[in-house]
Symmetry: D2
Subunit: 480 residues, 4 copies
């Protein structure tokens, strides 16, 4: 089992629409609002009266469709789209979704967000039975399972296939006569359903896409659910009853856009509550609050309001950082860093700063920002994190697969504080996080997956079991 394969199957965004004459263009608008979920590649597949058409490529959505002809040709009244997360592994257009499967008797498209935990086993078994995979992505597996099912009808085939894949997944499939959305039994990844004024049905990883296209939210897809959309409307079904909500808490903490709602909770508002709770858990004296732009601004707002400290713009992120091809020499490395983020000495000089960030992974970024603030004259820098310490890998769709990358897996809070050079370090408590998010549910952990914080995974790990065991033993440090 190689790491290369696994690191390719991570965080992404999916969108689908059924029943609108501008299906592909609306998918473009929807995907645009999901661009933060993946920047490596993008694609749209449309269905024009049974003819499936697709355009996909590496790059941002606007680059992929730089030539408007590539969007114009995607005619039809239904479409699905995908934005793909950039990983270190093999970058190839073969892995860009939606995938398109053509047969002599049918055809369909597929978009997938998540990570399967039994992909290796399934692939190996399928290959031994003659299957050929055209990508190194695990998203293709479902199509093989559907085609090889002996169930006599299509819905039966799909349900059988869904019951065989394990892990985290939100799928959107586009057939000639219907669109199908499905979620894993724990609902690890978000997926919402909306409706447009003309009756068109839309499905999206996040509700922010609904605001953009003027759709109204209906409800979120439930764990283990399968949603069938066709010209007769929406039909809800399920492929399993063994379900329990455990949505990824990192969606609220970091991934999702602040204007999205997930399971009835607005993300910005949840983050403000995390900030307020963090302020209550924070035990130090300080003068000002400074959020690390852009992801921590909501947390900083909540912290400032609760603590009564002024919220200041002590760190500036350059908005033109997306694509710089100039590699600074060793001597100019520091300048390269400051191109993206700079501390405002006029704001922080002589101040005791509470530096708010959403999370700490390796700690290198935090260390750098603390240093920027101190060089700009901050007298003290107290780091307060809007989430608990990340100490365990994720196997359901986030790109953290080993404990070696995680500073909190290898160091105590005090060690971490010293490494990043802060005057204090405060993490939000797990309970504080759960209370702040506050999904209405009876599921354990408030319906959240918090396994990266406590190592308690809601499902068996299948092919990753061995990796995980080894990971726990190795516990080596990368700061020496």
């Amino acid at each position: 089992m190689t790491y290369e394969v696994k690191s390719l199957n991570e965080e992404c965004g999916v969108f689908g629409i059924w029943g609108h004459p501008d299906a592909a263009k609306l998918t473009y608008f929807g995907l645009h609002s999901l661009q933060h979920r993946g920047q490596e590649g993008a694609g749209i597949l449309s269905n024009d009266q049974g003819q499936l058409k697709r355009h996909r490529d590496m790059g941002l959505l606007s680059e992929v469709f730089r030539n408007p002809a590539n969007l114009d040709k995607l005619t039809g009244t239904s479409a699905i789209g995908h934005v793909r997360y950039a990983t270190a592994g093999e970058a190839s257009v073969d892995n860009i979704q939606p995938f398109l499967f053509r047969f002599h008797d049918m055809q369909f498209g597929l978009a997938h967000n998540g990570n399967l935990t039994n992909a290796e086993s399934l692939k190996k078994e399928l290959e031994q039975r003659g299957a050929i995979f055209s990508s190194t992505s695990d998203s293709e597996i479902l199509a093989h399972l559907i085609r090889r099912s002996h169930n006599p009808n299509l819905m039966g085939k799909i349900k059988e296939a869904l019951s065989l894949v394990k892990g985290g997944f939100a799928y959107i499939l586009l057939f000639e006569d219907k669109l199908i959305a499905a979620l894993d039994p724990n609902g690890f990844r978000p997926l919402s359903i909306g409706k447009m004024t003309n009756g068109a049905v839309v499905v999206s990883s996040e509700t922010c896409a609904f605001e953009v296209i003027g759709a109204e939210w209906i409800r979120d897809v439930k764990p283990g659910e399968i949603v069938i959309v066709d010209d007769n409307g929406i039909q809800y079904d399920s492929y399993t009853n063994d379900t329990q909500l455990a949505i990824c808490s990192m969606e609220y903490i970091y991934f999702a856009r602040p204007d999205s709602n997930i399971h009835g909770v607005n993300v910005h508002t949840a983050r403000k509550r995390m900030g307020a709770q963090l302020a209550r858990e924070f035990k130090h004296e300080a003068d000002i609050v400074v959020g690390v732009p852009n992801s921590s601004l909501s947390v900083a707002m909540g912290f400032a309001e609760e603590s009564g400290l002024p919220n200041e713009m002590g760190l500036i992120k350059n908005q033109y950082t997306q694509r710089t091809f100039i590699q600074p020499t060793q001597e100019l490395r520091e300048q390269g860093v400051r191109m993206k983020l700079s501390a405002v000495s006029g704001v922080v000089k002589g101040k005791r700063v509470v530096m708010i960030d959403d999370s700490i992974v390796r700690g290198t970024t935090s260390r750098r920002i603390v240093q920027l603030l101190k060089e700009a004259g901050a007298s003290e820098v107290h780091v307060a994190i809007g989430s608990p310490a990340l100490a365990y890998p994720c196997f359901y769709g986030i790109d953290i697969q080993t404990r070696q990358e995680l500073i909190a897996a290898n160091h105590t809070v005090e060690e971490t504080r010293q490494i990043i050079g802060a005057d204090s370090l405060t993490y939000l408590s797990i309970d504080g996080l759960i209370d702040s998010i506050g999904i209405e549910t009876d599921a354990p952990n408030g319906g959240l997956c918090v396994a990266y914080f406590d190592g308690d995974y809601p499902t068996p790990l299948y092919d990753y079991e061995e990796d995980y065991r080894r990971s726990l033993e190795e516990k080596t440090s990368f700061y020496k």
Copy 2:
């Protein structure tokens, strides 16, 4: 006198460095932090022991130098750079700066931020004497004046030329043996001097560039001053004594980066004070404060702190909006608008919102945002603007050249409120603005140019005099 010519000479950013082995790369980093001042084109010109080399093109800095070889070839220990503002007029690489002038006996480079008010007269006179201009920019005029001066030495020629051009200008010139910076007699445009640890001297439109490259601010260039930098250090001289500080107040309100300091005043801090003052002048009941991202966030912070109202993220700006080539159809226009900015219904629903913006030009953007907020469920939208009403054109370097484009030139505050659909509309007072900025100076208006608010220009308008008169009479409305 055509408008085409004038609209080409607007807001830009300039940077220069003398005495560093990585001069061009540091200029790249410096310009990168000035990118907000101009996105149409960019260029860098370096001086390698008397050999001037240049690369310039249309597009963002990172696009212009997408091929690193174009930066690597700019060897030498001094350099100047320029980022150019995008205007509706003729877009051509001929107008991208720095300009490079080569003669059989010498050569020099030139970068210019500002707008000359006697450009037409000077051009006409020079052409009648045989001059040929290679651009439609007014920035080229200074070079002709320098070359045609009968003064026997170079500094004399430059001073003579500077005394002939009128209006707003910050120039950086690069000669084989020196770098020269010069500011107009009113200091309309900002220009600061800094020093690096190795002794290299840097000049920049804004001090944020100094943070990026690790330079220390020395002081701002004074009105009417000419600064000569060579291997012997910095020398301050002046070409006129008839000076009076009147720096563009829009630099504090909108243009400059929050982390820059201008004439000793931090821009973010000034904006917070404007927000606090605006809160004091605001006379309505409300529940939450929502700043229009990104330029109004500091003002919103100040308003929220002073008013005690919570500061909320009720509007989300998509960070991936820079380059969309897809033109929405008429039917999809609204979706196109929401791609860039969307209102967060989870935040604003049922709330009386104070919507904070930095300024109103035509009013179309404000009208759209008010509508977004109301559609997202805001019960009331009170628009509060961090600056006075823009009612008069600018001739010193901002791209507002006719009153017809300005809603406040043609409508009362109450009419404007109705047009934009707000429940109330509050502008910051001129005195409130001046007090909030608070430059230490004895100059009138606190050292600020506020002519766009009161029509009282600090200088004669020269070639624009007639345009301005006609503009006052026409006073037609574009909202009918």
Copy 3:
């Protein structure tokens, strides 16, 4: 059975090398000399000690590898490459070869020139057994057949797969430990083997690639043969004994480069002999010979020498025609045509011209060139064609699939002469063609496939049988 699928599987070029440290670069040089065989896309796949690496894209080879890094990364001592023919059908990078198949237990690459006549049946059957195809190309079928074979060893699997596919094919497969080349039982497509001075073995569609890389020709691959190249050298085997040479005569007439040798016959020399024979069959008076550049120049040389008439440059092809994006308006259509080819009035004025071309398909080009010559002043234009009349479709790898496209399928020679506006029209006789080429063989038709001329196909047509029958009946004309 749709036409879309068939039109994607046409004329291409393949190249392979085993045992050279610069394998990918030499493949680049080799493919460059095969570029005339396909301009839609290109790709190279290398083998670095068992690790297969690939780069492929739409466009000319030089465009696909515009960024040299894409070639540099293809390390290893063996490689295969492919250039793909441009067709009207679906253009997608998915169809660009070499294909790369990765499994948990092995991996291999595949490049294919030719067209399978039982592709539809095989695809349908494989899909019913669960196979998923990732391209719309028939080249992928062989990989599925190999993987599904129950033969216990790899060579057995490959032989079994080769015996199942029908039609015209030259395959090159690259495995971790060997390179395999195979030809169909009729040898419809050319494939030659060569050796470099360092012992490296090369395989190529045409021998012109050997000249370019300094390799020496060993021999051509025989019908039904399978060639295995590994570190122990070359091994010749076969998967069938039911073979009979029927190489595509259009390779000699049009496709192949003049400097290539096929089955021991130099193409330029064969064409000169066709020209000489054509001169003997030609029955008219004329003053000068003018070849249509570039493909007919050899034929024109042979005609001129045999006839004693001067060979003149009466038609000029612009060498800069590859990529013009300007679409002439209806009014300017004629100018657009002349951009590519123009007649030299100084040469043809008042002359009785023998216009030599290699073949006539629709007749539209011939009609246009006759008109150009007459407008330039030619008193008579006698069209002499270096091949017999094309009257039947090809199913073995040439992009002529219906009789409707062929003027000679629907019109007599005299009708064709009138349509193209010539004073006379002479086709080379089939016997004349066979004698001119002169392969040393006992096979019928001198070892050539001449089915497009006489409708006598050397194999059953399988999936195309029905199409062909229908085609014979329809016999409609497109000139009315």
Copy 4:
């Protein structure tokens, strides 16, 4: 005086049209047929009722106008265009023509083919009087001279300016109300006038452009002539009477397209006569004639017909060579060479070959081709050149500026033969060349400039005089 400046002003193509609604598109077609005269850059400037519009850029014409919008925007009924020769010097869009000069009282465009011999003196003098040049090209000088003339009317100014510039030049100027073409007093460069059926007048470097757009040739511009085209038709005038035809013989030998006529002589026909004459001057036994493609094919035809030897395709030029970005390693250098040109062993093996080329400059190419032929098995290679030995530089528009680059300046014919490895070497005699071309004129040397062959320049050399003297003395060899 630096060489950098001189090497920028070389061989180019110009085109102009007055009086056609599709002026810019026809200019595109015309320039396309002149692309062989320059591939570094291209531009078109149109005149839409007094508004001059332009697009220009680096690259081939089809690349410069890859986006059709750039051509569509060039509206108007008159236009001029330019294709620029690629030189080693500074490549910059600033040097791409047509130049566009805008003044407050007028504007005009300028396209120039040729080289001025007093450019340095004129530039220096103009700069001392305040002029600023925007390019490093000498083509800009004429505009400065026109603007500074004290002559009261425009035609007077233009004539005065034309009388001040020396050397070789063909100018096309486009004013709001007229198009002006002018030729130097020796007519060094070709320039022809044509007419379209709608009455539009066209001017072009070569008549091949007339064929492409369907225009009829009227006559060639005469030395010292100035042609004025406006809505009243064509008017012929002159700015000097001191004229004598000395058209560049290299136009017939190498530069011009075979289908062009210059001063009444068809270029292909002239080359055939050169070949026939060369055959008469050739004194060796041989079996076949092989022309170096593409420029020597006409000469080879003439040689073969006169000698009775068969004309064979013994060398093949790959038609896909224009843009290869792959740099072969030192080991693969030979393969890189063969990518462009390869010898056909099937044709030349065992034969005594007459290798025909148009000219020899450094001799490196000839040496390489001789080697290719011998490696392909030619028993003897006799090199026969369709022009006399190039031994002196050109200062009128060809990029040969020093004797050091010319093998014939430093070596006898026998030495050259040994260096290139040929069995014999035959140059065409100067008298043979003059007779073969055969312009109807009383001018010396048959109206041709043959100074590169005999060193006898038809004009003073002005700024180049000193360079030339030094060049004669140095006479160093680059083959040692």
